[in-house]
Protein backbone atom coordinates (compact mmCIF):
# COMPACT_ATOMS: atom_id res chain seq x y z
CA UNK A 1 0.00 0.00 0.00
CA UNK A 2 2.82 2.31 0.93
CA UNK A 3 4.57 1.58 -2.36
CA UNK A 4 1.39 2.37 -4.31
CA UNK A 5 1.03 5.69 -2.49
CA UNK A 6 4.64 6.59 -3.29
CA UNK A 7 4.13 5.65 -6.94
CA UNK A 8 0.95 7.79 -7.10
CA UNK A 9 2.61 10.86 -5.57
CA UNK A 10 5.67 10.57 -7.85
CA UNK A 11 3.36 10.33 -10.88
CA UNK A 12 1.50 13.44 -9.66
CA UNK A 13 4.82 15.19 -9.17
CA UNK A 14 5.90 14.33 -12.74
CA UNK A 15 2.54 15.54 -14.11
CA UNK A 16 2.70 18.84 -12.26
CA UNK A 17 6.29 19.36 -13.45
CA UNK A 18 5.17 18.71 -17.04
CA UNK A 19 2.28 21.18 -16.62
CA UNK A 20 4.69 23.74 -15.25
CA UNK A 21 7.01 23.25 -18.21
CA UNK A 22 4.06 23.57 -20.62
CA UNK A 23 3.03 26.81 -18.97
CA UNK A 24 6.58 28.16 -19.19
CA UNK A 25 6.78 27.25 -22.87
CA UNK A 26 3.39 28.89 -23.49
CA UNK A 27 4.62 32.07 -21.81
CA UNK A 28 7.77 32.13 -23.93
CA UNK A 29 5.71 31.49 -27.07
CA UNK A 30 3.31 34.29 -26.13
CA UNK A 31 6.24 36.63 -25.57
CA UNK A 32 7.83 35.83 -28.94
CA UNK A 33 4.49 36.04 -30.78
CA UNK A 34 3.70 39.44 -29.31
CA UNK A 35 7.21 40.67 -30.18
CA UNK A 36 6.73 39.52 -33.77
CA UNK A 37 3.31 41.21 -33.96
CA UNK A 38 4.83 44.43 -32.61
CA UNK A 39 7.48 44.49 -35.34
CA UNK A 40 4.95 43.66 -38.06
CA UNK A 41 2.61 46.43 -36.90
CA UNK A 42 5.43 48.99 -36.69
CA UNK A 43 6.38 48.00 -40.25
CA UNK A 44 2.80 48.55 -41.42
CA UNK A 45 2.59 51.91 -39.64
CA UNK A 46 5.40 53.53 -41.65
CA UNK A 47 3.75 53.36 -45.12
CA UNK A 48 0.43 54.59 -43.68
CA UNK A 49 2.09 57.62 -42.10
CA UNK A 50 4.11 58.22 -45.26
CA UNK A 51 0.92 58.29 -47.32
CA UNK A 52 -0.61 60.74 -44.85
CA UNK A 53 2.42 63.06 -45.07
CA UNK A 54 2.37 62.89 -48.89
CA UNK A 55 -1.32 63.78 -49.00
CA UNK A 56 -0.75 66.60 -46.54
CA UNK A 57 2.08 67.94 -48.70
CA UNK A 58 -0.17 67.72 -51.80
CA UNK A 59 -2.96 69.55 -49.99
CA UNK A 60 -0.50 72.22 -48.86
CA UNK A 61 0.71 72.57 -52.46
CA UNK A 62 -2.82 73.03 -53.83
CA UNK A 63 -4.27 75.13 -51.01
CA UNK A 64 -1.19 77.15 -50.13
CA UNK A 65 1.21 76.89 -47.19
CA UNK A 66 -0.59 79.66 -45.28
CA UNK A 67 -3.81 77.62 -45.25
CA UNK A 68 -2.32 74.51 -43.69
CA UNK A 69 -0.09 75.39 -40.79
CA UNK A 70 -0.04 75.24 -37.02
CA UNK A 71 -1.08 78.90 -36.65
CA UNK A 72 -4.60 77.84 -37.62
CA UNK A 73 -4.96 75.21 -34.90
CA UNK A 74 -8.01 75.70 -32.70
CA UNK A 75 -6.77 76.80 -29.28
CA UNK A 76 -10.22 77.41 -27.81
CA UNK A 77 -11.49 74.92 -25.28
CA UNK A 78 -12.72 71.75 -26.99
CA UNK A 79 -12.74 68.04 -26.24
CA UNK A 80 -11.05 65.45 -28.41
CA UNK A 81 -13.44 63.84 -30.88
CA UNK A 82 -11.30 60.70 -30.88
CA UNK A 83 -10.31 59.26 -27.55
CA UNK A 84 -9.41 55.99 -25.88
CA UNK A 85 -11.05 53.64 -23.43
CA UNK A 86 -8.65 52.01 -21.04
CA UNK A 87 -9.45 48.76 -19.29
CA UNK A 88 -7.31 46.72 -16.98
CA UNK A 89 -7.78 43.00 -16.75
CA UNK A 90 -5.94 40.38 -14.76
CA UNK A 91 -4.11 37.84 -16.90
CA UNK A 92 -3.03 34.93 -14.65
CA UNK A 93 -0.68 36.66 -12.21
CA UNK A 94 -0.15 39.94 -14.08
CA UNK A 95 -2.38 42.91 -14.82
CA UNK A 96 -2.68 43.80 -18.50
CA UNK A 97 -3.93 47.06 -19.95
CA UNK A 98 -6.30 47.12 -22.94
CA UNK A 99 -6.84 50.19 -25.09
CA UNK A 100 -9.91 50.70 -27.30
CA UNK A 101 -10.14 53.50 -29.81
CA UNK A 102 -13.34 55.59 -29.77
CA UNK A 103 -13.34 57.43 -33.08
CA UNK A 104 -15.42 60.52 -33.68
CA UNK A 105 -17.40 60.14 -30.48
CA UNK A 106 -16.63 63.28 -28.49
CA UNK A 107 -18.37 63.79 -25.14
CA UNK A 108 -19.89 66.98 -26.65
CA UNK A 109 -22.02 64.85 -28.95
CA UNK A 110 -22.38 61.85 -26.68
CA UNK A 111 -26.09 62.28 -25.90
CA UNK A 112 -27.05 62.57 -29.54
CA UNK A 113 -25.29 59.48 -30.78
CA UNK A 114 -25.46 57.26 -27.71
CA UNK A 115 -28.98 55.96 -28.42
CA UNK A 116 -28.23 55.23 -32.08
CA UNK A 117 -24.79 53.72 -31.63
CA UNK A 118 -25.68 51.20 -28.95
CA UNK A 119 -28.77 49.76 -30.64
CA UNK A 120 -28.53 46.84 -33.10
CA UNK A 121 -30.13 47.49 -36.50
CA UNK A 122 -32.96 45.04 -35.85
CA UNK A 123 -33.84 46.63 -32.51
CA UNK A 124 -33.85 50.05 -34.16
CA UNK A 125 -36.26 48.95 -36.85
CA UNK A 126 -38.52 47.31 -34.27
CA UNK A 127 -38.63 50.51 -32.28
CA UNK A 128 -39.52 52.56 -35.30
CA UNK A 129 -42.12 50.11 -36.47
CA UNK A 130 -43.90 50.29 -33.12
CA UNK A 131 -44.14 54.09 -33.05
CA UNK A 132 -47.73 55.27 -33.83
CA UNK A 133 -46.89 57.69 -36.65
CA UNK A 134 -45.00 55.12 -38.72
CA UNK A 135 -47.76 52.52 -38.28
CA UNK A 136 -50.26 54.95 -39.77
CA UNK A 137 -48.05 55.50 -42.80
CA UNK A 138 -48.21 51.84 -43.78
CA UNK A 139 -46.09 48.72 -43.49
CA UNK A 140 -44.44 48.68 -46.93
CA UNK A 141 -41.84 51.38 -46.24
CA UNK A 142 -38.17 50.50 -46.55
CA UNK A 143 -36.03 50.63 -43.44
CA UNK A 144 -34.14 53.69 -44.73
CA UNK A 145 -37.31 55.66 -45.33
CA UNK A 146 -38.58 54.67 -41.92
CA UNK A 147 -35.32 55.82 -40.40
CA UNK A 148 -35.40 59.17 -42.18
CA UNK A 149 -39.00 59.95 -41.24
CA UNK A 150 -38.81 58.86 -37.61
CA UNK A 151 -39.88 61.80 -35.46
CA UNK A 152 -37.01 63.14 -33.36
CA UNK A 153 -37.60 65.08 -30.17
CA UNK A 154 -34.48 67.20 -30.77
CA UNK A 155 -34.78 68.04 -34.48
CA UNK A 156 -34.22 66.24 -37.77
CA UNK A 157 -33.19 62.56 -37.69
CA UNK A 158 -29.43 61.96 -37.45
CA UNK A 159 -27.71 58.62 -38.07
CA UNK A 160 -24.38 57.51 -36.68
CA UNK A 161 -22.73 57.95 -40.11
CA UNK A 162 -23.98 61.54 -40.29
CA UNK A 163 -22.48 62.22 -36.88
CA UNK A 164 -19.11 60.78 -37.93
CA UNK A 165 -19.11 62.84 -41.12
CA UNK A 166 -20.07 65.92 -39.13
CA UNK A 167 -17.14 65.43 -36.76
CA UNK A 168 -14.77 64.81 -39.68
CA UNK A 169 -15.95 68.02 -41.39
CA UNK A 170 -15.57 69.95 -38.16
CA UNK A 171 -11.98 68.76 -37.94
CA UNK A 172 -11.31 69.80 -41.54
CA UNK A 173 -13.02 73.17 -41.15
CA UNK A 174 -10.06 74.41 -39.07
CA UNK A 175 -8.33 74.82 -42.45
CA UNK A 176 -11.24 76.58 -44.17
CA UNK A 177 -14.66 75.84 -45.58
CA UNK A 178 -13.39 74.43 -48.87
CA UNK A 179 -10.50 72.02 -48.54
CA UNK A 180 -8.57 69.96 -51.02
CA UNK A 181 -9.61 66.29 -51.43
CA UNK A 182 -6.00 65.48 -50.56
CA UNK A 183 -6.58 66.88 -47.09
CA UNK A 184 -9.55 64.54 -46.68
CA UNK A 185 -7.31 61.73 -47.88
CA UNK A 186 -4.69 62.70 -45.29
CA UNK A 187 -7.39 62.63 -42.60
CA UNK A 188 -8.33 59.06 -43.51
CA UNK A 189 -4.68 57.97 -43.62
CA UNK A 190 -4.03 59.33 -40.15
CA UNK A 191 -7.22 57.71 -38.87
CA UNK A 192 -5.89 54.37 -40.15
CA UNK A 193 -2.54 55.11 -38.52
CA UNK A 194 -4.36 55.74 -35.22
CA UNK A 195 -6.03 52.34 -35.40
CA UNK A 196 -2.65 50.69 -35.97
CA UNK A 197 -1.15 52.63 -33.08
CA UNK A 198 -3.84 51.45 -30.69
CA UNK A 199 -3.14 47.86 -31.75
CA UNK A 200 0.57 48.53 -31.14
CA UNK A 201 -0.23 49.87 -27.68
CA UNK A 202 -2.15 46.67 -26.86
CA UNK A 203 0.67 44.48 -28.16
CA UNK A 204 3.15 46.53 -26.09
CA UNK A 205 1.09 45.76 -23.02
CA UNK A 206 1.14 42.03 -23.90
CA UNK A 207 4.93 42.10 -24.47
CA UNK A 208 5.62 43.71 -21.11
CA UNK A 209 3.25 41.33 -19.33
CA UNK A 210 4.75 38.25 -21.03
CA UNK A 211 8.30 39.53 -20.38
CA UNK A 212 7.56 39.82 -16.67
CA UNK A 213 6.22 36.27 -16.61
CA UNK A 214 9.24 34.88 -18.47
CA UNK A 215 11.57 36.81 -16.16
CA UNK A 216 9.77 35.41 -13.12
CA UNK A 217 10.14 31.87 -14.45
CA UNK A 218 13.84 32.39 -15.20
CA UNK A 219 14.40 33.49 -11.60
CA UNK A 220 12.64 30.44 -10.15
CA UNK A 221 14.53 27.97 -12.38
CA UNK A 222 18.00 29.49 -11.72
Amino acid sequence: MGEEEEKGSSENGVESKEEEQDEQENNVLRFLDSLDSYLVLMDSLSPTLRQGWMELASARHSMGASRINSALFDLKHHNAATSLEVNHHDDTTMQQTCFTLCKWASPDTQNLCSKEATLEEGELLQRKASSPQIRHRGASRSSEEVQEKRPQPYGPPVTVDDQVQKERSKSLSVFGALVSPKLRGAQLSFETALETLVEIANIRSTILCARDQVQEEMKTTM
Partner: protein, 130 residues
Protein backbone atom coordinates in the same frame (compact mmCIF):
# COMPACT_ATOMS: atom_id res chain seq x y z
CA UNK B 1 -12.99 52.08 -42.63
CA UNK B 2 -15.63 51.43 -39.95
CA UNK B 3 -17.94 54.30 -39.19
CA UNK B 4 -19.32 52.64 -36.12
CA UNK B 5 -19.15 55.06 -33.21
CA UNK B 6 -17.88 53.76 -29.89
CA UNK B 7 -19.03 55.88 -27.04
CA UNK B 8 -16.26 56.88 -24.62
CA UNK B 9 -17.04 55.57 -21.18
CA UNK B 10 -16.10 56.83 -17.77
CA UNK B 11 -12.52 55.62 -18.23
CA UNK B 12 -11.96 57.51 -21.50
CA UNK B 13 -8.57 59.06 -22.04
CA UNK B 14 -6.60 61.11 -24.51
CA UNK B 15 -3.77 60.49 -26.94
CA UNK B 16 -0.92 62.97 -26.44
CA UNK B 17 1.68 63.80 -29.11
CA UNK B 18 5.22 65.14 -29.17
CA UNK B 19 6.17 65.37 -32.83
CA UNK B 20 6.84 67.61 -35.82
CA UNK B 21 4.19 69.92 -37.28
CA UNK B 22 3.02 67.65 -40.09
CA UNK B 23 2.57 64.65 -37.83
CA UNK B 24 0.62 66.73 -35.30
CA UNK B 25 -1.50 68.25 -38.10
CA UNK B 26 -2.35 64.80 -39.38
CA UNK B 27 -3.39 63.44 -36.01
CA UNK B 28 -5.37 66.59 -35.23
CA UNK B 29 -7.26 65.97 -38.48
CA UNK B 30 -8.05 62.53 -37.08
CA UNK B 31 -9.70 64.21 -34.11
CA UNK B 32 -7.28 63.65 -31.23
CA UNK B 33 -6.71 67.33 -30.43
CA UNK B 34 -7.87 68.45 -27.00
CA UNK B 35 -7.68 71.87 -25.36
CA UNK B 36 -8.76 72.13 -21.74
CA UNK B 37 -10.23 75.11 -19.91
CA UNK B 38 -6.75 76.36 -19.03
CA UNK B 39 -5.88 76.27 -22.74
CA UNK B 40 -3.49 73.37 -22.24
CA UNK B 41 -3.16 71.15 -25.28
CA UNK B 42 -2.40 67.45 -25.49
CA UNK B 43 0.35 68.01 -28.04
CA UNK B 44 3.72 69.69 -28.47
CA UNK B 45 5.00 70.72 -31.89
CA UNK B 46 8.74 70.19 -32.04
CA UNK B 47 10.68 72.43 -34.41
CA UNK B 48 14.17 73.89 -34.64
CA UNK B 49 13.40 76.36 -31.84
CA UNK B 50 12.15 73.77 -29.36
CA UNK B 51 14.65 73.15 -26.59
CA UNK B 52 15.44 69.78 -25.03
CA UNK B 53 14.21 71.11 -21.68
CA UNK B 54 10.81 71.96 -23.19
CA UNK B 55 10.55 68.43 -24.60
CA UNK B 56 11.57 66.91 -21.25
CA UNK B 57 9.08 69.03 -19.32
CA UNK B 58 6.27 68.18 -21.74
CA UNK B 59 7.12 64.47 -21.58
CA UNK B 60 7.06 64.55 -17.78
CA UNK B 61 3.78 66.48 -17.81
CA UNK B 62 2.08 64.09 -20.24
CA UNK B 63 3.24 60.99 -18.39
CA UNK B 64 1.99 62.43 -15.08
CA UNK B 65 -1.48 63.35 -16.37
CA UNK B 66 -4.21 60.85 -15.51
CA UNK B 67 -6.32 61.69 -18.54
CA UNK B 68 -3.66 60.62 -21.05
CA UNK B 69 -3.41 56.93 -22.00
CA UNK B 70 -0.99 56.98 -24.94
CA UNK B 71 1.89 59.34 -25.70
CA UNK B 72 3.03 59.33 -29.32
CA UNK B 73 6.56 60.64 -29.69
CA UNK B 74 8.60 60.86 -32.88
CA UNK B 75 11.61 58.61 -32.50
CA UNK B 76 14.09 61.38 -33.35
CA UNK B 77 12.55 63.48 -30.55
CA UNK B 78 12.68 60.50 -28.18
CA UNK B 79 16.41 60.19 -28.97
CA UNK B 80 16.89 63.74 -27.62
CA UNK B 81 15.49 62.63 -24.24
CA UNK B 82 16.50 58.96 -24.49
CA UNK B 83 17.45 58.57 -20.82
CA UNK B 84 14.09 59.89 -19.70
CA UNK B 85 12.13 57.74 -22.17
CA UNK B 86 14.05 54.56 -21.34
CA UNK B 87 13.71 55.08 -17.61
CA UNK B 88 9.93 55.36 -17.90
CA UNK B 89 8.39 52.02 -16.96
CA UNK B 90 4.69 52.52 -16.20
CA UNK B 91 2.04 50.64 -18.21
CA UNK B 92 -0.11 53.78 -18.65
CA UNK B 93 0.34 56.02 -20.42
CA UNK B 94 1.93 53.83 -23.08
CA UNK B 95 4.87 55.52 -24.83
CA UNK B 96 4.93 54.73 -28.55
CA UNK B 97 7.85 55.86 -30.69
CA UNK B 98 6.77 56.66 -34.23
CA UNK B 99 8.74 57.46 -37.38
CA UNK B 100 8.83 60.96 -38.80
CA UNK B 101 9.13 62.24 -42.37
CA UNK B 102 12.90 62.63 -42.24
CA UNK B 103 13.72 59.89 -39.72
CA UNK B 104 12.49 56.37 -40.45
CA UNK B 105 11.72 53.99 -37.60
CA UNK B 106 14.80 52.33 -36.14
CA UNK B 107 14.01 49.24 -34.01
CA UNK B 108 17.43 49.36 -32.33
CA UNK B 109 16.44 52.59 -30.55
CA UNK B 110 12.89 51.58 -29.65
CA UNK B 111 12.45 51.69 -25.85
CA UNK B 112 10.06 48.71 -25.78
CA UNK B 113 12.43 46.49 -27.75
CA UNK B 114 15.48 47.65 -25.78
CA UNK B 115 13.68 46.56 -22.59
CA UNK B 116 13.34 43.00 -23.85
CA UNK B 117 16.47 42.49 -25.96
CA UNK B 118 18.52 41.54 -22.91
CA UNK B 119 16.46 38.34 -22.80
CA UNK B 120 18.03 37.37 -26.12
CA UNK B 121 21.56 38.16 -25.05
CA UNK B 122 23.72 35.10 -24.25
CA UNK B 123 25.82 37.16 -21.84
CA UNK B 124 22.88 38.15 -19.71
CA UNK B 125 21.67 34.55 -19.47
CA UNK B 126 25.17 33.42 -18.49
CA UNK B 127 25.50 36.13 -15.84
CA UNK B 128 22.14 35.12 -14.32
CA UNK B 129 23.38 31.58 -13.92
CA UNK B 130 26.58 32.56 -12.09
Amino acid sequence: MANRVQIPGRNSALIAMIADEDTITGFLLAGVGNVDLRRKTNYLIVDSKTTVKQIEDTFKEFTAREDIAIVLISQYVANMIRLLVDSYNKPVPAILEIPSKDHPYDPTHDSVLSRVKYLFSAESVASERR
